[in-house]
Amino acid sequence: MQSTAVRVFVLAVFAVVPFIQTNTYWQHVFGVALIGAILALGLQLLIGMAGLLSLGQGAFYGIGAYVSAVLTLRFGMPFTLAFLAAGLVAALSSLLLVPIVKLPGSSLAVATLGFNIIMYLIMLNEDWATGGSYGLLNVPLPRIFGFEFTTERDLYFLILAVAVLVYLALDRLTHSRFGRALKAISQDEDAARACGISIIHYKSKCFLVAAFTAGIAGSLYAHHARYLNPNDFTFNKSIEILIMVVVGGLGSLPGAVIGAIVIVLMPEILRSSGELRLILFGALVVVLMGVSRGGIAGLAPILVDRMSRYRPPAGGKGVESGELKR
């Protein structure tokens, strides 16, 4: 159980980051990382709670981004409304998946991936709405009740606020009747049905909530990057979100946030290693998965375990009992 003290401390750390790092490029990257965290939190609900392997989150992200950008650019809608509309339209479009939510693991993954490809093609080809491959330029800065978020630091705090709300919302859902039903479904569908849980109903609802989350993340992205291109929303994006969740730790909300930050920041930090950076990054991900199947969130118990089993070497023998038994 996380105490309120831990939460306040973590929030304080996030709040001081843009004051310690005043370089606007890095502040922008931190904003991108937090958008990634919102995306990863949404996918965590699908994969970590309900066991639904979806590779379509990138599509809902794109839908949210374009809805928000088009509504503000072309129709002059205020940011607040466009932001909510982005979430709602993404959520509604997830209803298209209702007929396939019952598919088992890998089939569902491929089917949602197909959905992402279709949505990408729509973004690419429906120029009248999306600007096609030219994309949308000059998406307006967010403005809430007359306050315009102009600096990178302002934008960072806007994204942080949304991320905190999403985190708290999903934390509440996890510890509710809805969350328990999702966990039950992921572990035994027949037993869940015998308890009165409708599988299609709950899986669809789970997709709906996750799509809403991705949709508002898309809206933030649109007004943060201020330029949209369909190439930002290919299935590569969905896979990147999946990597965030798995690296961070399946089933853990803090894990999803950590995973997103690592996946966004690592390539930036490794930038000094030039062309090697993506190879290094890939290798780090592989090693991490080999060490801890629970991702980064699963590392802490393993380390604690190793420390507690460690006995000062007597007669030269080291930590033999510290071997992993997985």
Binding site: R172, F178, A184, D190, A194, G196
Partner: protein
């Protein structure tokens, strides 16, 4: 006495195999109704038909005055039919109390939105769910393991946890599929006591079981299935003496012990 559950010519066919064949059966409200028969007699299939996990190919099921038709299992659970499974089907990675809380799903209502803004009704319901789940764990004697992950409980305790999950919502009918399987003598004896207490709480039970002592001691009425057909129906005493039942379990050829065989030969010799 009124029948809570009545099947009429209930049948289930898997391709060429007739698993359940035109079974008429009625379970009185308040009874513990045993369903016995040799392996492959169609007992589990029968339970699956009642719980809705399998669809019948013929016949009807009437529960509490309502034709169940092709109602899916989750709605049957909401209508008051709960079950346990032959091969433990717990939510293994959830704690014991969470398993029982899921058992209250059909009895509670809060959804996504009310959970997000924590309405007073939702908070009250969560408290109520936790209290009822603890009471149900206490009822089967597992309160001490409330926060243990279900998969790491002992086998006997997992069986009890499944019963608690089925019982917690005080359904009208519990379908129990071999609850005594894998239990030792003491545990089986305690199970009979638990079944009686469930009955005393006003819950009707249908019990599929191989453990004859449990069946004979716990059941008010017993139905015997063989090759998917109803072979006999009656009180435990009737079933014990029913020749067809003995045949179904032991075979049709008369079985003599060696000494009996000798005696009959001697008797024959003496008669000459």
């Amino acid at each position: 006495m009124t029948a809570l559950l009545r099947t009429d010519q209930l049948s289930c066919r898997f391709g060429g195999l007739v698993a359940v064949s035109s079974v008429d059966l009625s379970v009185e409200a308040g009874h513990v109704h045993g369903l016995i028969g040799p392996n492959g007699a169609g007992k589990t299939t029968f339970l699956n038909l009642i719980s809705g996990h399998i669809r019948q190919t013929g016949g009807t099921i009437n529960f509490d005055g309502q034709d169940l038709g092709s109602m899916p299992p989750d709605l049957r659970a909401a209508a008051g039919i709960r079950r346990t499974f032959q091969n433990l089907r717990l939510f293994r990675e959830m704690t014991a109390i969470e398993n029982v809380m899921v058992g209250l799903h059909a009895n509670t209502r809060s959804e996504v939105f009310s959970s997000l803004i924590r309405t007073s009704a939702q908070r009250w319901e969560e408290k109520d769910i936790a209290e009822r789940a603890r009471a149900a764990l206490d009822f089967v004697g597992l309160l001490g393991s409330a926060n243990t992950v279900a998969g790491s409980l002992s086998y006997g305790h997992q069986r009890l946890l499944e019963i608690a999950r089925a019982f917690v919502g005080k359904p009208k009918l519990i379908l129990a599929d071999e609850p005594a399987a894998g239990l030792n003598g003491t545990e089986a004896g305690q199970l009979v006591g638990l079944i009686r207490r469930i009955q005393a709480a006003g819950v009707t039970m249908m019990l599929v079981e191989h453990h004859m002592e449990v069946v004979m001691r716990a059941c008010d009425r017993i139905t015997v299935l063989n090759y998917g057909k109803k072979l006999a129906d009656g009180s435990p005493a009737d079933i014990r003496d029913h020749s067809g039942v003995i045949e179904a379990y032991l075979g049709t050829k008369p079985v003599y012990t060696r000494s009996e065989h000798h005696r009959t030969a001697e008797a024959r010799h003496a008669a000459h």
